[in-house]
Each structure stands twice: as C-alpha cells, then as structure tokens.
Amino acid sequence: MHKAVVLGAFAGLALAAGAASAATLDDVKARGTLKCGVNAGLAGFAAPDQNGRWTGFDVAYCRALAAAIFGDQEKVEFTPTTTETRFTALVSGEIDVLARNSTWTFTRDVDLKMDFIGVNYYDGQGFMVPKALGVTSAKELDDAMICIQTGTTTELNLADFFKTNGMSYQPVPIQTEAEARQQFLGGACDAYTTDASGLAAARSGYPNPDDYIILPEIISKEPLGPVVRHGDNQWADIGRWTLNALVEAEELGITKANLEEMKGSQNPEVRRLLGVDGSLGKMFGLSDDWAYNAIAANGNYGEIFAATIGEGTPSNLARGLNAQWKDGGLLYSPPFR
C-alpha cells in the first residue's frame, strides 16, 4: 500500500509538471453535439417551452456557440443544473460550457479552476417583497425571513449587506427557483433575494405579479457570464469570441435579417467578422463562416436580449448597463482583426 502510494505520488508530480490540455473542441466535434449546462428553469434565461425545446437568453448563447462550431443551432444538449451541481458538472467534464447566469468572482475564476469567458449580462442583487408588507427600502428588512438560494454569491452578499447595516435576518435556504416560488408565495419568507434579472423573471411567472415590488437597492455587482474549465485555451477563445461576435454584430448593425446583405458590405470590420476577408475561423479550428453561423442562429446580442428578456417580454428588463458602449452601456467587444 505504501509503495503504491509513493509511486502514485511520483506519478502525480510528473503529471503536474506538464500542463494538461484537454482538447475540448475535438471532443465536441467527435461527439457531434455541444453539451451546455443551463438553469433548470428561469423564465427568460433558460426554460423549455411547451414543445420541450429550450429557449432563453443563456440558451441562445449556447445555440450561437453550437452554430459557430457545427453550423446548426440544434446540435446542442442542455443539462439543467442547480446552484449546487453547476460547477462540479463543468469541472468534471460532464458539460463543455456553463451558461447559467453565474457571477464572475475571484475565487470562482482562480480557486475553482474555471474561466469566465465574458459577461453576457451586467446585473446586481436586489430584493423582492410583497406590496402588502409596506416595505419601501431594503434597510427596513431588519429581523425578516429571507428566501435565499444556497451556494451562490447572493448568499454571501446578503450576509455582508445585513452586517454592514447592523441588521439581522433569518435565512430560509432553497435550492431552485421553483422552491423559491413555493415558499415566497406561500408566505414562508418575507423577502426573496437574487439577481435583479432573476427577480424580474421570477415575478413574471407569478399569478399576480403586481402584488410584488422589487426594492430599489442594488447591493452588489453581479457580472453574469458563461464559464469553461481551466486548461483549454482554444476552447476558451472560441467561447469568448462567439460572445464578442454577437456583441460586435449589434454594434455594426448586423441583424439576422440583413446577414446576407451585409456579406456584400464594404466595411472591412464587417467583412472580417463574417469571414468574407481573412480567415479568423481557421485560427482556432473553426470554419471561416463561424461568426456568420452564430449570428444566423438567433440574431445579434440586441435581438436575443429583446426576444427573451427585453422590454415587451414578461421579464421586461431595460438594457441599462447592458447597452452598447456607444449608447452608454458596458458592452464593448474587442476588434475582429
């Protein structure tokens, strides 16, 4: 036993000396589908429709990625994950990319051996209370019972917020959105806290949404983005630049409708993005029309936003921080050159 352990330790050291690069792109191509981890059910972000086909803001990103690799946005398998299982599923290799409105933090990026490949939604944490309680500010929530999803940054932010303001609270731990809905609507907790976009999405599904208000305080920064594992730079590049392609498409005015027409454009940036000039795709193992296919799936970033969570949808979220940088928002894609 001792000899085996010593030998094993030496072998482990030898392995650690060389960096392991798992070629995720080759695995995905060989398999023929992209495995994408999503929220088990959050209206607007990731939910199966009545035919069982997954739709939503995060789902659209995965579909764009699948289209970039295979040219077909249906070649993707969605794995619903809870807050407890999402990172383990990614790190263990069960899924190739996690697009589950996960906040980009230091420890997740560094300690948990994952890479955030961008931010697809700049969000913040808020509180939702029933109007009947007569609460108008989060600072009035002293001694309240608050429904909170375990294993999230929300949990840690909540503890910090209440400590900073000298208040106390009772956490009611829940695992999924469905459980939150049951407890919150049943009156088992006074307030529900999660990202403001999640609150809007949840409220849109309640039987009487107007009886609930989202309090004005946003108590944290929650940059939400897709995640991949450490150790595969090529795969991270593919994921990162697919997201950038969607953002850049909106900046350049490329929509799903005018894609073909834009292929004939004289704008050099447009030509490079759509693969007419240069061969950006070959640089990371994809075909040259990778961005064309990605945009053809569900449109550019703005179109995806408007179709899933924008104004006019049940979630009814304004662009706010998620507008293009030219419009005063934070979305800024590096150039395709």
């Binding site: 094993g8 392991a20 990172f87 420890t107 840690l156 503890a159 910090d160 049943g186």
Partner: protein, 403 residues
C-alpha cells in the same frame, strides 16, 4: 488428521497450492495483495486526475471564513465563523434530529406494534394500514409532503396581526404555530438559576434513590408504595418551591413584530417536518420489529402469566416485552442507523444538517468536493459505529447468559 506432520517431508513450493495446510494461507495472501493493489491503483488514479485538473488536496479551507449564515445553530455561529465551525453546526443539527427522530420513532413503533396485535379488529387494522402506508412510500416524499402540509395548514405570522386577525396564539397568548415554525415561550435564566439547577439534580438523585428503596421494600415485605406520584412530587415540588422563593427563571414570550414573532424559542418548520417524517417512516419499521419480537415470545409465557392472575397490560409490560427485547434490539439498531443516515435528506426542506453545510454550501463555495465528501462520510461512519456500539452494549447486558 493430526496437525503435526509425522513424516519428515522437505518443503516444496507446489505444497503451497496442493497441501491443504498451506493452501488457505496462500489464497489469503494472494487476495490481500490483490485488494491492496486495487486500493493503491485507486489512490494513484485519484492523485493523477486531481493533478490533471490542477486541483490540490488540502483541508486548509476549513480555517477560512465561511461568509454565509445558518438559520438554526445550537452553538454560537455567525458569517464570520470558519467553515470548520459551520461543519460542527451541521453535525450538531444532524445529531439533534437523529436523537429526536430515534426517540419518537421508538415510541411510535412500540405503540403501533403492540396495537397491531390487539384483539380489537378495528384497532389492529388501523395499525396495519399505518405500517403499510408509511413503509412503502420513500422517506423523501414523506419529508416533502409534511413540509407542504405545514406550509399550507398553518397561518403566516401576518394572520395574527390586527383587529381582524384570522389566527390567534395558544395557551394564553404564549404559543404561536405559524407556517414558518413554532414560536414557544423560552425560559430565561436570571440570577440564582444555579440554585434551582442544583435542587433539580438533587431531586433526580432522590427519585432514583427512592425507586431503589421502594423496590427493595417490595422484595422484602411484599408491600408496595404509590411510586409514580411520590416520584413526581419529589421531582417537581422542590424545584417549584425554589423558583417561587427566588424567581430566578422567567419566561420570554414571543411577541409579534413587523415581520415575525420575536423573543421566545423558535422551532423551524424544517426541523419539525424532518423530525416527524423520519419518525413516522422509521416508526413503521420499528412497529414491525416490535411485533415480530412479541410474537417470538412463546405463548406459554403469556398463558402462565394469565394463570398467575396478571392483567393483560401487565402481562405485556412485565413478562412479554422484556423477553421480546432480546429479539427486538438488533434490528432496532439498524433502524436507528437508517434514520440517522436518512436525515441527510434535510437539505430538501432547508434544514442545516452536515450535508447542507459541509457537503452543500461549503463544498459549493470552496470547490473542495473530495475533501468535503471524505469528511462527511467519515462523520456518518463514526456516528453509525457509535450508535451500534452503544446499542450492542445494551444488547449484551440483556442477552441470555448461557451456562
């Protein structure tokens, strides 16, 4: 066949297989080497895979700040405490629900098991229905069902508010049963509480001593004393007198505030749901064990006891059950272990047991799956071994001592 070889044969290596004296030894050595190789390979594989993922194996995370709050903690805990303390909070919560569950399950099980053997047809069938229903549905569904029932039946704290309140507190405005949990009056220990505690301890000693005295008196002279009432008086009266004199223990009563009741003691509905679901589920199994134990005692015993003039209830408690315990206790140990391990389902109702803190939130926030899993499995193993050791001690003490 003698053990000593009477013929002086030189040792040959083929004797290791063909000679029955050495064969079993050879097979055991080979098996041992195979098992050790297998475990060595697993450890080697794990180390290699962890290195490939770039993860290290260390328990340093236990000393880091936890950062999250736990709703029920038996020891002081805040979000500044370490992950190790959060794990201890979880362990204590597991032990609490396991102890409560085991005690309640035993009581329910004995009660229902005896009832099922009742000559009253209706009572017997009702007990049978209880056992069959609760045994055959998975315990997770019972936990969720009880949680849903509690959430739906009991009113929200807001219903207690205002002039047209739809709910009211019980026991003279001291107890509130809500859909968040039970708010109870809790004793507050004022100055001089140690005196009452000492008097209570002395009362317990007096009760025990009186019990032995009454038993010895009955053995010697055959005359009995009304032990129940005397013991009750010995236990309660001195403590009450001391409290009346010093007023050291006051009651903190829950009062409705803006969101909830504040003050007093609070039993979360997740604890109640988990406790009763586990107790009812395991109680059904215990009932069957008790019934089989009672049926294992030969009929001659109860017939002889009846011939001596004992009434049916005394036959059961003095003659049948003590003998049945020898058959009941070993499977009962298994049921206690099952209940303790089933309590790991607590996270579905939001109860902070060790699986929820160490194996849930801590594992999630720090990403240390392997270390947390090993710690949790070690804890459950330790608890199970402890429970079975204690129960086996009791078992050995009541075992039939062979001549």
């Amino acid at each position: 066949m003698t053990m000593v070889a009477s013929h002086a044969e030189p040792f040959r290596f083929s004797m290791l297989i063909y000679d029955t004296r050495y064969r079993s030894l050879t097979i055991q050595v080979i098996a041992l080497v195979a098992v050790l190789t297998f475990f060595g390979w697993i450890v080697h594989n794990t180390i290699g895979n962890l290195a490939a993922l770039g993860k290290t194996f260390s328990f340093d995370f236990l000393g880091q700040r936890a950062g999250y709050d736990i709703n029920q903690h038996l020891i002081p805990y805040s979000n500044d405490s370490t992950h190790a303390r959060a794990a201890v909070v979880g362990i204590l919560n597991t032990l609490l629900v396991a102890a409560l569950g085991c005690a309640t399950a035993t009581v329910i099980g004995v009660f229902v098991g005896v009832l099922r053997l009742s000559p009253n047809w209706l009572v017997g069938r009702l007990a049978a229905i209880y056992v069959e229903t609760f045994r055959n549905v998975p315990v997770l569904l019972w936990i969720l069902a009880l949680m849903a029932i509690i959430t739906d039946i009991f009113p929200a704290p807001n219903a207690f508010r205002g002039d047209d309140a739809t709910a009211s507190m019980l026991l003279g405005g001291t107890v509130a049963l809500t859909n968040r949990g039970a708010y109870l009056p809790w004793p507050v220990l004022g100055p001089g509480w140690q005196a009452i505690a000492i008097i209570l301890a002395l009362s317990l000693a007096a009760v025990w001593a009186f019990g032995r005295f009454a038993h010895a008196r009955q053995q010697a002279t055959g005359r009995t004393l009304p032990t129940f009432w005397i013991k009750l008086g010995l236990l309660v009266v001195p403590a009450l007198l001391a409290h009346a004199l010093t007023g050291a223990v006051t009651w903190d009563v829950p009062v409705l505030q803006r969101f909830n009741f504040q003050g007093g003691g609070f039993i979360d509905k997740s604890l109640v749901a988990l406790w009763f679901a586990l107790a009812l589920f395991t109680g059904a199994f215990v009932a069957e064990i008790v019934r089989s134990g009672i049926l294992a005692v030969s009929r001659g015993q109860s017939e002889a006891a009846a011939a001596l003039g004992l009434r049916p209830r005394r036959i059961m408690s003095l003659v049948v059950l003590p003998q049945a315990l020898r058959v009941i206790v070993p499977p009962l140990i298994s049921q206690y272990l099952n209940l303790t391990k089933n309590s790991s389902l607590a996270i579905v109702v939001g109860y902070a047991d060790v699986r929820a803190t160490l194996g849930g939130i801590t594992m999630n926030q720090t990403g240390r799956e392997l270390e947390c899993m090993i710690l949790m499995m070690g804890f459950y193993l330790l608890i199970s071994l402890a429970i079975s050791a204690i129960m086996n001690l009791y078992n050995a003490s009541v075992a039939l001592k062979e001549r």
